[in-house]
Every structure is written in C-alpha cells, then in structure tokens.
Amino acid sequence: MPHSSEDIRIKRNLTALVEFSRAVNSSLSMDFTLNNLLLSCFGKFLTTKGFVAINSNGFLTPVVLKGINKEELEAFPKIPAENTDDSKAMMRSFVKENNLKLCEPIVSSRGLLGCIVLGEKINKSDYTEDEVDFLRTILGIAATSIENSLFVDELRGLNRDLDKRLNRLSSLFELSKEFGALIEEERISRLLVYSLLGNFLVSSYAICYLEDKKLKVIESTVPKQPVLDYLGTINLQSVTNPVSGENLTASFEPLSRLKINLIIPMKYQNETRGLILLGKRMNLAEYSDADIEFITSVGNLAIMSLENRRLFKEALEKQRLEEELEIAKDIQRNLLPKNLPQFEEYDIAAMTVPSKQVGGDYYDIISTAGEDVYLAIADVSGKGVPASLLMANLQAFLKSITIQNLGLSDATGLLNNLVTENTSEGRFITFFWCKLLRNEKKLIYVNAGHNPPLLIRNNKLQYLDKGGMIFGVMKTFVPYAEEIIELQSGDLLVLFTDGVTEAKNRFDREFTDEKLETLMLGVKGEMKAGEIMNMIKSEIDTYVEGFPQSDDITMIVVKVK
C-alpha cells in the first residue's frame, strides 16, 4: 500500500514524539530535558538559534541557549513568570526586537513553568501551523518532565535542609558531650567559638561572660576594650532576647560600629550571664530564625558549663579552706600541754574547747626543773593557719624565755619584741602570764592586755590587771609592770579568754563578766580546781543552750592548797 505524503509526515512526527518522550522521561535532570527539547526543535524545524527560559523565583530566566550568545541575552527583561497579557506582550516585543520568530509557553498543572523561544529556520521560511502544533505537543511532554525535575530539585533542597538540621543536632550533641565534662574555661569558650565559626562562616566575634558579677571578654576577634567599656554602661539583664538588624543599630550602636550583626544572650537559670556577639557571615547570608535558635542553644550549653565549672571551683576552694583549718587545728592541738603537772602547793585545772573555726586561744603550764610554775594564757588575733603559726612562735619564745630565769617584767618586754618582729600588720596577741612560787605562796604576774584574771579570796574579787600593752603592736618602749601577790590557802585564781565571758546564746546575748564573777563568788570552799572549771563550763553550756560556739573557750583554774 502506497503511503501518502501525509502519512509519512504523521509517522515522522510520531516517531519524533516517541523519541523525545523516551529521552526526557529517562532523566530527572532539568538541563538534560531542556537541552533535548531545544535540539529536537532544531532538528525538526531546522532552526539555528533558540533558548529556554524557566520560572526562577517568579521571573523568567534563560537557562539553556543554543546559537545565541550569553551577551545577547543580557538584555532579557525581567518578565514575571505569569500567564498574563502583560507578560505575553513583553515576551512578544523581546522576540520581535531580537529577530526571533516564535515563543511558546511551557505550562503544567502548576502554572507557567517557562517558555521556549526559537529563531529563524535555516531556509528563512516561517513556522507552519503544523509545526507550531508539533511544538506544543512536545512542550506538553517536556512540561511533565520539567515538573518532575523541579520536584526532584525541591526534594534535594529539602534533603539538604534536613542534612543541615541533622548536622546542627550533631553539633549540639557533640558540644553537650564535651561541655558535660568539667573542662577549663578557655576550652569551653574555644569550643563554642569553633562551633559558631564552623556553622556560620563568621570571622568576627566576641564572647562575653559575667563571672561573679565581673564582665569578661573571653574570646574575641574584635577589640576587647571597647566591647567591655560599652557593655559596662548597659544593664546586661535587659538583654533577654537575640538582637539583630535595625534593633541592633538603634539600641546597641557602639556594637554595630564594631561590625557586630547579632547579639545573643547566654542564659543560666533565666538570668543573662553572657553574650555572644557575631559579625557578618562571610557568605553574606542573613542569620535565620533557625540559626539564632541554634546559637542560643549552644550559648546556653556553654554558659551552663562555665557556671558548673565555677561552682566546682568554689566547692574545691571551700574544701581546701576546710583542709587548711584542719591543719591549723592540728597545729593548735599540738601546742597545748598534753599532761598537766601536779603540785603539792597548787591544785591546777585547765581546758580549752576549740570552736568549729579555728580560734587563736593558747594556754601553757610550764614548770622549770621542779622550781616555779609558769601559767600563761593568750588570745591571738585572727583565725586559721596564720594565727596558729603565730601561736606556735609565741610558745617557742615562751619556752625558751622561761629557761633564762629573767624577771617577769623584762621577759614580757622581750616576748613582745619577739612577737612584734614576727607579726604582720594588724595582728596582735593579748597575753597574761604569772609565776607561782613553790617555796613561798606567792604570785608574780604581768598582764599584756588580756582579760584580767580573777583572784577570789574570802568572797572578794581582785582583778589581775597590772602590766602593759598587748603584744605585736610595737616594740617594748615602757617596761611592763608586774605585781606580786602573797597567796593564802583557799585562794582561787581563774584565768580565761573572752570565749568564756562572750559565749553567746541564740539571742546573741553574751554570758558576761558579771555572771562569771557571781559564779566565782559562790564557789564553796571544798571544791577542787577541776570541779570549779567543770562548773563554769556547764553553766556556759546551759546558758547557750546548744547555740554554736563561735570562739575558743579556754580556762585555767588554780586553787591554792
């Protein structure tokens, strides 16, 4: 059967359509589809130039061109990708001005996808109606393919967004793992910076941290001092939300002059404890809401780690202080006499009850080679290790000076000189000591600013207050006065520190000298020194009712036999 030319034409068209359809549907690449589209047209119509423009962000944008220079298309106008008369008119005039021939829209159910523009055929003839029909048909096929490619691109974009989110999540995870360990402040801030630099391509930044109310710039590529100076003038607590854009320029002008584009507060327990200041991103992208959210999370993680570290340091310091106190207590305990010597002439009892904090009470009972007995009681100012060491000094001086057998007044003067030479400014010792003679019942004492000990005889009180200046203020200038007292059997002598009379109850009221004196005047003749001492202590205990003791309580009680 002979074929009419019409038949051949239809057959050729169909073959071309099938070929084209097969080709473009085998690929999801937009470029491949558009390239094929142009080439099919060129082959079919013997066209030599043309291009395809695609809807990109709402405007037609030439993407694939053949036989046309890029420069020729530079004048391509900004045509909204809409199937409107305006857009059509703009296209038509562009086609006409550039000696092109044909422009056909590529349309799908989504609307206008783009258009194809074809130039002259090689034989300069016009496009026939038939050819335009054919073009429309293959554009229909191309539209589906282009739409698929667009979907794929969209999916790729979504996947990339997901990847970005995933990457952010793993960043957060990574940092929280690192920050969870108690690492150095410098390392915390470096990690924070790395993470921000890596995620946002920033190169100018400053990290400010409010540690113990003191603002520090811990990491920075912008000049630190201007940042500190400026932040010193604002209330950090007022920065509760991220600041960027016009708000930043308006309210934080000095920072914007330092090229800071974003301020993010770092919060700990709802308080702003630091700021992250970031400059422009090097790819010039804006910070998105998701970016700001991420930076906020990272910042809060970092500040939590910084705060934890600070609290940990504080706890360590406290522990160190406590250990130091233990050492001081040890020194002090070892300074006190371990056994009380017993004498035929004197019944002596002594005690010291250290407070929880180490105080500076000291007492000693020294008897030289069976001769006389020295009693000493002292209160060293200050607490802790320094006070203990000063006390140890005093004890060493005392021990060596009693061997010299000097007069009490001279010896006291020497002691003061030694103490003064060995104390730093502001430290002093109140000191009382006395010598109880063995062969005759006699007491010699010097009081260097200590609470006057009490001598009770026949229900009468005497204060042992002769002497001179406290130790450690200045070298001995005026000799210390000494007093000699003839003792009688039954005399009661009480040496004590202010921890006794100033023992406080929970109403902050002191035990008082009066109470001690009344108590002493009521002592019955037959009581031994130890019993009297225990009585005083139990009176104090009753008085304070278990309220914590704030100062050492020290007493020496002597009953003349």
Binding site: R160, D163, K164, N167, R168, S170, S171, E174, L175, K177, E178, R187, R190, L191, V193, Y194, S195, L196, L197, G198, N199, L201, V202, S203, M282, N283, A285
Partner: protein, 116 residues
C-alpha cells in the same frame, strides 16, 4: 573511634598538613596548635590533605575559619584537598566551597600555589 592525628610536610613554600581520624570538638585544639605554629613561623601557604580524615564535625570546621583570615592577610591561603565524600558533604553543607578552594588532590592544590 580512630585517633586524630596531624602530620606536617613541606613542599617548597607550601606547607602540607595531613589529617587523619576524627576531627571534632575534642580533637580540634590539636589542629589549632598546628595552625598557630605555622603562623608563628610565618608560613602562610597551607594545603590541608584530608585523605585519611574519616569524620569532621562543625567544630572541626570552625578551626579553618579561625585561621583563614590571618593566612590571607599575609598573602597566603588555606587550600583543602582530597576529601572523602562524607567529609566534603559537611563542608558543602555549611557553605565552605564559596570561601575555600577545594581540590581533588594534594598536588593540584600545591600547583595552584605555585602558579600564583
């Protein structure tokens, strides 16, 4: 997890930093030290060879940002080379190809320095 390591080589005026293992928040300071030392000794032409690097986190990427400006201000550069696909992916994701030259091989990166 494989240990992170760095290895420094020289090729004329170009300094090659080979990386291996995992570069993350934990190991980033090691790389920072390498860059700091390079800057101290005024060696600003750097090629980083990623061939043996198995993983990089964004904190690891931050190290490159922290030094790129100093290198460039001293007419040097940090060029990146021989990344595994998963490593390149992170660089790409965070937009680094815009700011850094990334080469398939160490030699291509070195050549680029020499031709400049």
């Amino acid at each position: 997890m494989s240990e992170f390591f760095t290895n420094l080589k020289e090729n004329g005026t170009v300094n090659i930093v080979e990386l291996g293992g995992y570069l993350d928040a934990h190991t980033a300071p090691q790389l920072e030290n390498v860059f700091s030392d390079l800057i101290k000794s005024k060696r600003f032409n750097v090629v980083v060879n990623f061939e043996q690097l198995n993983y990089i986190s964004s904190a690891g990427l931050g190290v490159f940002m922290a030094f790129i400006e100093t290198m460039r201000e001293n007419s040097g550069d940090i060029k990146l080379a021989a990344m595994k696909p998963n490593v390149y992916n992170i660089f790409d994701l965070l937009g680094f190809p815009l700011l850094y030259e990334i080469f398939n091989s160490e030699n291509e990166a070195i050549d680029k320095f020499i031709k400049q």
